[in-house]
Symmetry: C2
Subunit: 483 residues, 2 copies
């Protein structure tokens, strides 16, 4: 590393410095304002808040100015709506398009709605097409039209064509700026072309080689180009084996492809195979995180699970879920009611029955979490469903027997041996049922093209609660314990 | 796009083609073997399985040969242990280091244990240091020593230094191969240097500029280098504002930094600030996915949640969880037992009480899922805890009132109006309690430096179950319904 000889070149042109270079000195981890987890320190936030409350706008500006755009976005997200608008007004110059692009969706929507259409259009023009689309796509139809009307023709056309694609598909999310060159071009030709067109694309990691029909025939990573002499044709350097993303592909599938094939960027093609854009891994990283974490939220009915979501939206998605669960709870209650007479005679049944249902519910949730995750990662497919089911069944039997022995002995000691046997057997039945349901319900929903994470939970709970009460109370009655 | 003029260069050297280029024709989406979700088709897998069962090794080889290494890895993961070994033997030539690197951790461990140390060492030598480390780190101490002894000195030293760092830190996961050049080097000097040292690093996206103490002072993206004339010094092009990763940083924090600052790669520095390696986004993508999804699994006690995990490990982590939940269920049972006499008098109490506990449990799980996620994403910090708590409280009150009205009316109609009022009030109390607990329990565990996802669930369930039964039964008794 570090070869120290070099040759002067004849060209004396001074290139423009890249836009991202800042005049700031080395920024290692910013210790004053950020803690070791890279979040804004509470003291620092408090000082900003105090300055805001005192109406000292210049001090607010001075405090915020050294922050990275992503951290300014974090800061804005920490404040509630009104304070946020006040803060934004105090630091107008710092509200660059980078900051806007980094904001949480709900916060950004809220702020855009507060601005006039011309202002939003101005911000949109500074952003890359995909970031501009993200800015506009969640606003009202009317607001969108007003903003589009204020844009330059070029920008408006680009954004409108992106909005023509459905949400959460490659077409909507892709970057329209892509470097595409013909097959016969040489490495030297490419370097010259890039030097003459300095504004071409912001950051790119590979160059796409296309044929006369604008179909991608190969890709060239920049690290290879730099290591190849100028006279070599790109078609000799390029990799022909490429991963192409159809413009209609769902974002979750795009993310999985990026992960599976360890991609940094990939070409997006339309139905006729023409190169229309590219997706880069930094966009995908956002999707991966979102998609991977949403299952936990979906399975509990927490909806978007974003703490910036307006309260009425959080309420409406969560209460819908709770009402669905009310329905399954009522089914369980009907079963208990059926055994009402038995409970009257032996109140120990009422004391013990929630244990069976509760453990069954936990076992079902465990298995469901594993199955939903495996389905999402494309690890549970038609090809191995039976194998996985058999595996989960064996785990469930082991779990069921273990818990059954523990609770059976305790119950036998506190109440009667027969009751101990009854609860032990009911426990095995319920845990095994939970294991089966935890795999099969998500699998069935997947085959029916429904999102397993959303729909399975209600059904799995219904099955485990019902079976729990039915098995325990039923066995107790059958064993003659409630005569 | 596509400037067609170029100049020939004097150099007539033919560069080596990059290793990744294959002789295969254009591979668009492989329709024969992969379905639209990019997973192996069941028919295809069956044909491989049939060939294996018949012992027809050459047909197995022909079927598998066209697959991408990542897909060969998927195929191996679909088979159980014995079949997998048979398959691996049939396709020995295809078992490249790329395939090994793509295997699921458990499957890879299993296969490495079946091979002699020299064979594993051979594979390790072909991998990049970080992939080789991943290969070796989960094996037994003895196996590790045996394999390390078989390696070249250079490789052994690199791997041992990586193993010296704790698991799941930047030091363990980083790539040791990094391009670092001095400040005074020009763009032209860099290009020449890269051309002379073609084997330098596999794929890289930026070049790090270091001072005489090997401290990073800036970075240069390759796309800028290609657009800059040869005579410009790198120190004029580079970005000084850089994100440096301490060698001891936890992998989850690394992943969050990559996401937050939209990084493609980043320099890793040791305690004295020396550049020791780099992390690239394709490594991080794997971590993001893992870390984002593990909360769902942890919160339900599903442990690793990997379907390839050996059964005894899956059993031991899940049953531990179920036993913990048995404990909390017993606490709830004690509360019910306390009100045993009341239940004997009014069996409707036994029929209705699970509803209150169940809805409370769901509401608690929802809130907990949101809070755990927000904590993991660094969105819930000291600076906004009170604000979030207040938000969740308001959502909980709305949810509680809604459910209370529904169940109160239904109960009033089926049983008595007073019972309806009692269950309605108990419902509000329990849902609000669940909302508070769902935020505060994870927050408290976070402050105590424990993983909120693991520990919170047991406590939140304990609180909601206990409060559910206590509020309902207690209010019923207080209202004189069980006299």
């Amino acid at each position: 590393m570090g070869n120290e000889t070099y040759q002067d070149d004849e060209e004396l042109m001074i290139a423009d410095k890249p836009a991202e270079e800042s005049a700031r000195p080395d920024d290692r981890i910013d210790d004053e304002r950020l803690d070791e987890e890279n979040t804004l320190k509470a003291d620092y936030v408090r000082s900003v808040r105090d300055a805001l409350d005192e109406g000292d706008k210049s001090r607010v500006y001075d405090l915020v100015e050294p922050l990275h755009p992503a951290d300014i976005a974090d800061l804005l997200e920490l404040f509630d709506r009104d304070d946020r608008h006040t803060l934004a007004e105090a630091i107008t110059d710092l509200m660059s398009s980078d900051v806007i692009a980094e904001l949480n969706d709900y916060v950004r929507e809220d702020m855009m709605e507060a601005l006039p259409a011309e202002a939003v259009a101005q911000i949109a023009e500074q952003l890359d097409t995909d970031d501009a689309v993200q800015l506009i796509e969640d606003l009202d139809e009317d607001d969108q039209q007003a903003i589009l009307a204020e844009l330059d023709d070029e920008d408006r056309v680009a954004i409108e064509s992106a909005l023509a694609y459905p949400e959460e598909t490659a077409g909507r999310l892709m970057s329209h700026e892509v470097v595409a060159v013909p097959e016969h071009m040489t490495v030297g030709g490419l370097i010259d072309f890039l030097r003459e067109n300095v504004d071409l694309a912001n950051d790119f990691y590979e160059v796409f080689i296309v044929d006369h029909k604008h179909h991608p025939v190969g890709t060239c990573q920049l690290s290879w180009i730099l290591r190849t002499p100028r006279n070599i044709a790109l078609s000799d350097v390029m990799k022909r084996d490429q991963t192409l993303i159809p413009v209609s592909l769902d974002q979750e599938e795009v993310a999985l492809m990026f992960q599976k094939y360890a991609l940094i960027s990939a070409a997006v093609v339309d139905e006729s195979g023409r190169l229309v854009g590219q997706m880069t891994v930094d966009d995908v990283v956002h999707i991966i995180s979102e998609e991977a974490s949403e299952d936990a939220l979906l399975m509990s009915g927490a909806g978007d699970g974003d703490i910036n979501e307006p309260i009425r939206e959080a309420y409406s998605s969560r209460v819908t879920w709770l009402i669905a669960n009310l329905g399954t709870a009522l089914i369980a209650s009907l079963i208990i009611a059926y055994f009402g007479a038995a409970i009257e005679k032996l109140v120990a049944l009422a004391i013990l029955m929630p244990i069976v249902a509760s453990i069954g519910g936990n076992a079902g949730t465990q298995t469901m979490a594993v199955a939903v995750r495996a389905i999402a990662m494309n690890q549970l497919t038609e090809a191995n469903t039976m194998r996985i089911l058999w595996r989960e069944l064996r785990v469930a039997i082991l779990n069921g027997l273990t818990i059954a022995v523990l609770i059976g002995l305790a119950t036998g000691a506190i109440f009667t041996p027969m009751l101990g046997a009854v609860i032990a057997l009911a426990m095995v039945i319920n845990v095994v049922t939970a294991g089966l349901a935890g795999v099969m319900v998500p699998v069935i929903f997947e085959r029916l093209k429904q999102d397993p994470a959303v729909a399975s939970s209600v059904f799995v709970t219904m099955i485990t609660d019902s079976m729990g009460f039915f098995a325990f109370l039923g066995l107790a009655v059958a064993a003659g314990l409630a005569n």
